[in-house]
């Protein structure tokens, strides 16, 4: 007797409205009571930036989702969210305070849930990018993709401090496009079944 279990990733269990989800993200022993490493703060903010570039109401969605996931104790309001994201060292108004592990967990969970909602779009854009680059065409040939890239560039330039060397590396449109596409790929991985664990774990790569 053959039992075929056909599990589509879109059928993943619905969002648990419980901060207990954060428990599924193991913290490396060395980071129990420490703040998030620099690269992690940068990465979290960039992923959220990519989400905002994909979805024009992204920042609103973050707050809404925070409430849905009962994370409003961590992400209280818009200003609070802005301050958390400004722990990104490349930000124009970078905060001196760092990101606690709990805050980072909340942001990662929100990012992964939002990404999952946009799975189809993300896949479409990545496939489009693949086809376009195979044909050596410019990004303008795909309206949705060029819209995403343009919006990402705009967000990035308006929020990042152009004097930082990390930002100077992305001075040209091409460099920013590459960054946006690579973030799109990471977002795709966040949508997976184990995406949240994988993304969370990757934040500590090379830091423990």
């Amino acid at each position: 007797m053959k039992v075929s279990a056909n599990v589509m990733y879109l059928d993943s269990p619905p969002a648990q409205s419980n901060p207990v989800i954060l428990d599924s993200l193991p913290v490396p022993a060395t980071f129990e009571d420490r703040e998030m490493p620099r690269r992690a703060r940068l990465q979290i903010d960039l992923i959220l930036l990519a989400i905002e570039a994909l979805d024009i109401g992204g920042s609103e969605a973050i707050l809404t989702l925070a409430a849905e996931l009962e994370l409003q104790d961590i992400i209280k309001n818009r200003v609070n969210l802005w301050r958390l994201r400004s722990t990104n060292p490349l930000r124009r108004y970078s905060q001196r305070r760092s990101l606690t592990v709990l805050e980072a967990k909340a942001l990662v969970a929100i990012a992964c849930y939002l990404a999952r909602r946009m799975t189809v779009l993300i896949r479409q854009l990545l496939l489009a990018y693949q086809q376009i680059s195979d044909k050596q065409l410019s990004m303008e040939h795909h309206f949705r993709l060029s819209e995403y890239l343009e919006r990402f560039r705009k967000h990035f330039r308006s929020r990042m401090n152009p004097r930082r060397s990390g930002v100077l590396a992305y001075s040209s449109d091409e460099k920013l496009n590459e960054l946006a596409i690579s973030l799109l790929g990471e977002l795709l991985f966040c949508t997976g079944t184990g995406g949240m664990q994988r993304f969370w774990s990757s934040l500590f790569d090379g830091e423990v």
Partner: protein, 495 residues
């Protein structure tokens, strides 16, 4: 009972066949637990050949895919636990959007053949290039398998961050070494560049060499001037030896012009040339002149100079002035003792006139050489006026003191005001004229033009040009008080 589990995604299908560990409970589950894996098959869209294998292949696939997913997310490479054996399944990044899946043909890996190629085909590894989306589907299939607790529950998703020591390999060694290399190479380039820049030479103060251009008319003045200002290195022996040869030159050449030209050439060529001129006149007493010349002092000839100087005409004057002037001058810089000797050699003007071998030369030399000497000697006498003889007679001192005071009073301006007193040392000739003066403090130097001293000096030196320091002088201390009142007293007081 064979259990089949399939995790299908748009680009990747993972098909597992296994057995249930049916021990005991006879009830049939809807989804029994698959605990034994018999066969695993991975089909990737676009790749005609499915990858199949046993548990070894499947576990290797899980590990490779899981690690590579983390590597993709963080950019930090994840290395498998290296145990010399190349893993069956590997994933390598080709570029941002292409990832290569490499499966070795060994172990329990089976490659389904289409019948065209036999199983024994080759041992080359299978390589499949995946796009990012395809890779994600592979990862997602693996993750869904991990999440499925009913299939091989012993295998579950375990991701751990890479340790810091592995992350250091993040940047290639070339990139990390670049800053140091640039620093070292730029230092080297700078060193090479600076190597060719010449080392600045220390400029030694040049000896006042003969300046024939200044007064090329007669070389003797040039000679005497040069010697007077002092080129000490001339050795006495050289002087002595040269006398003979140069005298012969003098005797050979008759016309003065030729002599001058001759001596001029000798000046430029050999530095010892002045001595010939010296020895020309007293060639008979060459033995005498040779001996004093090395030791003659500056001070000694001054009386003679005073004798000769009043006769600027010099045409009639016998070569004696030449002797007097030139003989001491070559050795001017050398101190010393034998002033009597010099006087002797200088005084025998009759002797030299008797010999008178180069009278034309003599006629030329006196006319200019005295002035030259005064010019040089006056500048010197300011500094080291001890060298010229001094009047020490108290009666003469008192007389000169009065005359000097009167001169100053007559020539000074009506109202003089100075911030502080001015102190001068003034040299006065026996006839009461001012030979020279020098300021002894800074304000004296600053305000010298307001005092009558420059006027007194210039008005008097004109008439008695020539001998300068050679005549005896008396030294006086002239003080201008801040209110402009001059006070004159002998420099050393009345003995």
């Amino acid at each position: 009972m064979t259990i089949q589990r399939q995790y299908s995604l748009p680009n990747c299908t993972l098909l597992l066949e296994g057995l249930s560990d049916t021990t005991g409970s006879g009830q049939i589950d809807v989804r029994p637990i698959m605990s034994i894996l018999v066969n695993a098959e991975c089909r990737i869209a676009g790749s005609p050949l499915p990858l199949t294998g046993g548990r070894e292949f499947f576990e290797s696939l899980l590990g490779a895919v899981s690690r590579y997913a983390q590597e993709f997310l963080s950019g930090v490479p994840h290395f498998p636990n290296l145990d010399n054996v190349q893993p069956l399944v590997q994933l390598r990044r080709i570029n941002r959007n292409l990832h290569r899946l490499i499966v070795q043909r060994r172990g329990d890996v089976h490659v389904m053949s289409n019948g065209l190629t036999g199983n024994t085909a080759s041992t080359a590894p299978i390589e499949i290039d995946l796009t990012t989306v395809q890779l994600f589907d592979l990862v997602e299939a693996v993750d869904q398998f991990f999440a499925d607790s009913q299939t091989l529950p012993t295998l579950s998703l375990q991701v751990t961050p890479v340790e810091r020591r592995y992350a250091n390999a993040d940047q290639p060694i070339v990139k990390r070494a670049a800053p140091a290399a640039i620093g070292v190479s730029s230092l080297a380039v700078a060193a090479i560049a600076l190597f060719f820049v010449p080392v600045p030479e220390v400029q030694k103060p040049k000896d006042p060499l003969p300046r024939p251009a200044a007064n090329s008319l007669d070389t003797t003045t040039g000679v005497s001037g040069q010697v007077a200002t002092g080129s000490p290195p001339r050795s006495p022996s050289a002087v002595g030896s040269e006398t003979v040869s140069s005298s012969s030159i003098a005797s050979e050449t008759t016309s003065p012009s030729s002599i001058t030209s001759e001596t001029a050439s000798s000046i430029t060529t050999e530095t010892a040339s002045p001595s010939p001129v010296v020895s020309e006149t007293p060639s008979p007493i060459a033995s005498e002149t040779a001996s004093p010349s090395p030791v003659a002092s500056e001070t000694s000839p001054s009386p003679i100079a005073s004798e000769t100087s009043p006769s600027p005409v010099a045409s009639e004057t016998s070569p004696s002035p030449v002797a007097s002037e030139t003989s001491p001058s070559p050795v001017a810089s050398e101190t010393a003792s034998s002033s009597p000797v010099a006087l002797e050699t200088a005084s025998p003007s009759p002797v030299s006139s008797e010999t008178a071998s180069p009278s034309p030369v003599a006629s030329e030399t006196p006319s200019t050489s005295p002035s030259e000497i005064t010019a040089t000697s006056t500048t010197e006498s300011v500094g080291n006026s001890e060298l010229s003889s001094e009047i020490t007679d108290p009666i003469a001192l008192r007389d000169l003191n009065r005359r000097l005071h009167r001169q100053i009073l007559e020539n000074k301006q009506e109202k003089l005001r100075f911030p502080r007193q001015l102190i001068y040392r003034v040299a006065v000739r026996p006839d009461g004229t001012v030979a020279d003066y020098e300021g002894r403090n800074q304000s004296a130097i600053d305000y010298v033009n307001e005092t009558p001293l420059p006027k007194l000096k210039t008005s008097t030196t004109a008439t008695v040009s020539g001998t300068g320091s050679q005549e005896p002088v008396a030294y006086y201390k002239v003080v201008f008080t801040p209110r402009g009142v001059p006070q004159v007293s002998p420099w050393r007081g009345y003995r």
